[in-house]
């Protein structure tokens, strides 16, 4: 079972992860983008982190929605609307729930991904966060079908996410700024894919402790 407390811990853990990886994410973006992804994400998740104390008595869906509003109005760039939409849509998947089953978590991951796809129109293989989020959903779904628990499903999702991230390296970008580079975008991991992987990894770490 994934509790409201897990969600709050996860958001805090992810905010910390982003802060620690701010320079790294920005460096990845400098290689194939405009050198701001870490800065953008850190700006947004610093706000989230500051906001968390005001959310301690809110339900999970409300927390996710509040976070989405903060991200939408503070990240900007491509990642702002995408992460914002991910959290906004995720919040709609768990309305009224106080605790989340593995099925609920799958709902979050799936609805979030759908939102990102709708907003960004990227496809698998375009070298975006979709290449990380999508295999993670598939893996998680498979685990759920095999009646695995949330932690185990999440472990498999993170493994798939990491593989997905690895696979962005040889890809040529077709969406986002990196696509302008054409073949020069090959050979670098996708910055947004990297931050998406960290998001899932943070959730797993919270669940495992």
């Amino acid at each position: 079972m994934l509790t409201q407390a897990h969600i709050l811990q996860w958001l805090q853990a992810y905010a910390t992860e982003i802060e620690q990886n701010k320079a790294y994410l920005t460096e990845l973006d400098a290689a194939i983008g405009d050198a701001d992804h870490g800065i953008n994400m850190d700006r947004g998740f610093k706000k989230v982190s500051a906001q968390l104390p005001t959310l301690t008595d809110k339900d999970i869906s409300s927390i996710l929605k509040a976070v989405s509003m903060t991200l939408i109005s503070s990240i900007g760039g491509a990642s702002g609307p995408l992460y914002g939409t991910w959290f906004l849509r995720a919040s709609t998947a768990v309305v009224g729930k106080q605790e989340l089953t593995a099925q609920d978590v799958l709902g979050i991951l799936q609805t979030g991904l759908d939102g990102v796809l709708q907003r960004g129109k990227a496809q698998l293989g375009d070298k975006t966060m979709v290449d990380v989020l999508s295999p993670a959903v598939t893996a998680f779904g498979q685990a759920v079908e095999e009646s695995k628990g949330t932690v185990e499903a999440m472990q498999q999702a993170v493994v798939a996410a990491q593989m997905g991230l690895q696979e962005t390296i040889p890809m040529q970008a077709k969406k986002g700024r990196a696509s302008y580079l054409g073949e020069r975008s090959i050979g670098h991991p996708d910055p947004g894919g990297t931050s998406a992987y960290l998001m899932l990894k943070s959730l797993l770490e919270v669940l495992e402790t």
Binding site: D34, D36, S73, A78, P81, G120, K175, G176, S179, Y180
Partner: protein, 358 residues
């Protein structure tokens, strides 16, 4: 990193504060969310024009807010699209009852944020249309990329649409005009040096003393090709030929359909330039290149246009859509018609441009 700044995180705000202080007769600055608006907004009955995008491109866009041009500008962080709440609140404040045109550069971030803002504004009963600018021929196709970026044509569209709004055009007319400007404009740029994002502190890319980056955007991102520095006449030739030899360019862009109340995909095509076309020629500094060098670029550009039977009837030379302190330039050619010329010449009074008016 050596810049005339205080803390990197205060760069955008302090720069806007300075601009607002210097031009308090023309513009005002809103905080939380951040946007710059015409001091006398809203203007009842006039369509309002709003633009926006990452900061670091000054004077674009805040420097173009004022009579005859923009009603509001929404600046994001450096090279980062602004957020939907900025665009929504700006729309609420400047709406004169005749609707709003968002002029949006075709970057994934700008597009997505402005789309969300359009949906939000529509949800609140504000009439908003949303036109994309995608004029950068360095991006060859739209199938394998995000599509062409919006660069120099953006501010030309802002001027022309701003004048149209002032002249009483209605919202669909202005949206059509904006689309037409976009379909008649082409741009391409090069960098001699990288720029440094203040919050980042190190140059986005490294070029040796003998290299230039061809086909750059305006966000310090690398271009399509790295090549050896050449005499400026050759560089100008490469840029100009890229614009003149660019074939018909077709792509699908998303626009809001008012009758359907939803996003629709619109198929649009730029036609190539042709002998006899009347052009506006725009030589732009990326921020760190002095105007003396821009004029050398213009010199060659004018020669090539003349050889090709193209007539430059208006020109614009200076640092107007920049990438911080980057050295380099871009060339934009816009095919004009009588209506566009009249609107280009119409009075404007903004922090950056001021003509035909006291």
């Amino acid at each position: 990193m050596k810049k005339l700044i205080n803390k990197p995180e205060d760069f955008v705000r302090e720069s806007l504060e300075g601009m607002a202080a210097a031009h308090s007769d023309l513009i005002k600055l809103n905080y939380d969310p951040t946007f710059v608006y015409r001091a006398n907004a809203p203007i009842p009955g006039k369509v309002a024009i709003i633009s926006g995008g990452g900061s670091g491109h000054e004077p674009m866009h805040a420097g173009f807010v004022g009579k005859g041009m923009l009603d509001a500008a929404c600046p994001g962080e450096v090279f980062t699209s602004p957020t939907p709440d900025q665009m929504l609140e700006a729309a609420k404040l400047v709406d004169g009852g005749s609707g709003i045109l968002y002029i949006v550069k075709n970057y994934s971030g700008d597009v997505m944020n402005f789309e969300m803002a359009t949906e939000l504004a529509r949800g609140e009963g504000i009439r908003v249309l949303n036109i994309l600018i995608d004029d950068d021929v360095a991006v060859k196709d739209s199938l394998y990329t995000q599509g062409r970026r919006g660069v120099g044509t953006t501010i030309l569209a802002e001027k022309i649409c701003g004048a149209a709004a002032e002249a009483g055009y209605d919202l669909p007319q202005i949206a059509n005009l904006c689309r037409r400007v976009n379909l008649n404009g082409r741009s391409m740029g090069i960098a001699l040096t990288s720029c440094t994002v203040p919050a980042n502190g190190t140059p986005t890319f490294q070029l040796s003393d003998r290299q230039i980056e061809l086909g750059i955007g305006i966000h310090g991102e690398p271009g399509i090709e790295r090549t050896a520095i050449k005499p400026v006449d050759e560089i100008t030739e490469i840029l100009t030929r890229s614009l003149l030899e660019d074939a018909a360019y077709s792509r699908t862009l998303r626009e809001w359909d008012e009758s359907k109340g939803e996003w629709v995909d619109v198929e649009l095509t730029n036609l190539p330039f042709a002998k006899g076309d009347r052009l506006l020629a725009f030589v732009n500094s990326m921020g760190g290149t002095p105007i003396s060098e821009l004029y050398i670029v213009y010199r060659k550009l004018a020669q090539i246009c003349e050889q090709q039977g193209l007539q430059i009837v208006r020109n614009l030379i200076g640092p107007y859509i920049t990438s911080l302190e980057m050295q380099g330039c871009s060339i934009t050619l816009l095919k004009l018609d009588d209506e566009m010329i009249r609107l280009w010449d119409a009075p404007v009074k903004t922090p950056s441009w001021r003509w035909g008016i006291s």
